[in-house]
């Protein structure tokens, strides 16, 4: 499927989480739309936002694996 219904994919209304920062989906930070008067924020379907977030985690895992066999955890070391 190439198309989507924006209405069905529309994210929740933004809630302020910090000065000039809003959040529509958990852990996805966005600049307050009031600060985007010159460059307008584009409408993005929820599935695209989640795809980008997932890709981000995949990229970070790939980069760790690219450089070394193991990633040491300070939290685990200190718990031992």
């Amino acid at each position: 499927m190439f198309g989507f219904r924006l209405q069905a994919e529309r994210p929740p209304e933004p809630r302020p989480v910090a000065n000039g920062v809003v959040m529509r989906l958990d852990d996805v930070y966005e600049i307050d739309p009031d600060r985007m008067q010159i460059i307008a924020q584009q409408s993005m379907p929820v599935s695209d936002t989640l795809r980008i977030v997932d890709s981000r985690w995949e990229h970070l895992a790939w980069m760790h694996d690219h450089w070394a066999d193991n990633v040491l955890s300070a939290e685990e070391e200190q718990a031992d």
């Binding site: 930070y29 010159i38 990229h59 970070l60 193991n70």
Partner: protein, 500 residues
Amino acid sequence: MSVVARSDSVVDELQAILGADHVLTNKSSLFNRARVPAPFPVHRWDEHIPDIAVLPETAEQVAEIVKLANANKIPVVPRAGGTGLSDGAVPVVGGILLDVKRMNKILDIDLVDRTVTVQPGINMLKLNEELRRHGVIYPDDPASYPCSLVGGRIGTGGWSLIGARYGHTRDLVISMQVCLPTGELIEVGDGGGRKIRKSSTGFQLKQLFMGHQGSLGITTEATLELVPRPEAEFAAFFGYPDYETAYKSTGVLAKSGLASLAGVVLFDEWKVNYLRRDDEAYIPQPSELRCVVAVAAYGTLAETRPASQVIMAIGKDTGGNYLGDEVSQGDWASRHDRYATPLHGRTPEGQVVPMSWHCEDAAISYSALPMVREEWHAIAKRYVDDYGVFDDWGMFAYTNGAHKPWGDYLVEIDIGIWEQRLDDAMWDAWVQCKREITEVSLKYGGSITACHGSTREGDAEFVPREMGGGFDVMKKIKRALDPNNIMNPGKNCLDDAYED
């Protein structure tokens, strides 16, 4: 545009060397090879268009092109990934742009003597994907790691994010084949051996052909260092309530003597404010966090695990608050993002606008970091307030010395520039801002550039002053090797070599 460079006879001869498909004269091919990611005077793009772009595949083709250019006195500008931040690959007077991207082959992997020989157009990430199956890596890790090429790293004299552990580009290139400005292919290294790391024979020519920004020739092959693939990576990010505490902690971490230490970097208050504004890792951080110090280590498990415990102890004992694994591991893995994300900044009124990123990259001694920080931010503030197209994105100081990371630092002030608003007046203001920043670097005994090169307006005019009497030697070498000034003319003030 040079009349000679676009003459039918020159195009015919280039096509005879390369075939018609690899001699490009169409507008998009030329415009796309005119700039680099650094802030660029987009209103004067036309001034930097090469006459012809060529894509050789072999060293012999490079030599034939350079001989042709030298015979006709046509400028040659070498270009690899085009990711540099100092305009080394930006044509100043047109000519032939020699793009090495088709020269991307691995020629030899020697696991016995631990070297890999490559052409200059190979990318380090792709090279390391191949090397991984052999249990080794080539540990040159710039911010541009996913997209820069070995040849550009050599031409720039590149700096690596893990240089404290493994060295920078100049420490990792063992030898090179170089095409001189007159078209001869020569071998340079430590002495004459291609795989020899230390020699006392003759002059140390390898460093002469490192970081010259294409002004002394073109690297056509390079033999590089291989190191064991790290068993372990460790990254720790600490938060601090003030700059003074973070600065002292940075010094103690850098002087720890840990051999697996790959780098220590200090983000100042302006940088943390910028990150807090736009970075998902910092937005949720408490307001009392004002500065951050990041540390990374690589090596075997046997050395990296105890090193991680020492790093954690130093970080906490010197006033740092560990920011957690998610921030530490995630931000370290994001270290190449500068080349992957669209950049934006803010107007003085707080509105989001697209901006390109200027990274001042001076080398400054540890003792001078606090003064340089104060003076640089004061300069940036004046230009931000007066012009409305600049944004101060903060400073960081990153351990600079290879294997001995305690004395001096790569120091950046990152400034966003709204390129779409540039005109001659704005550009001149920007260059003047750069000059003021550079004056501060030199005042404190620093160097204009730790990694990008001194080939930008606002930097280049200071090269004679920084080099002192050495600049006369540079001019003599340039004139001796490049009698017709064809290799990347207009860079590093080296046109001065031909004035008398």
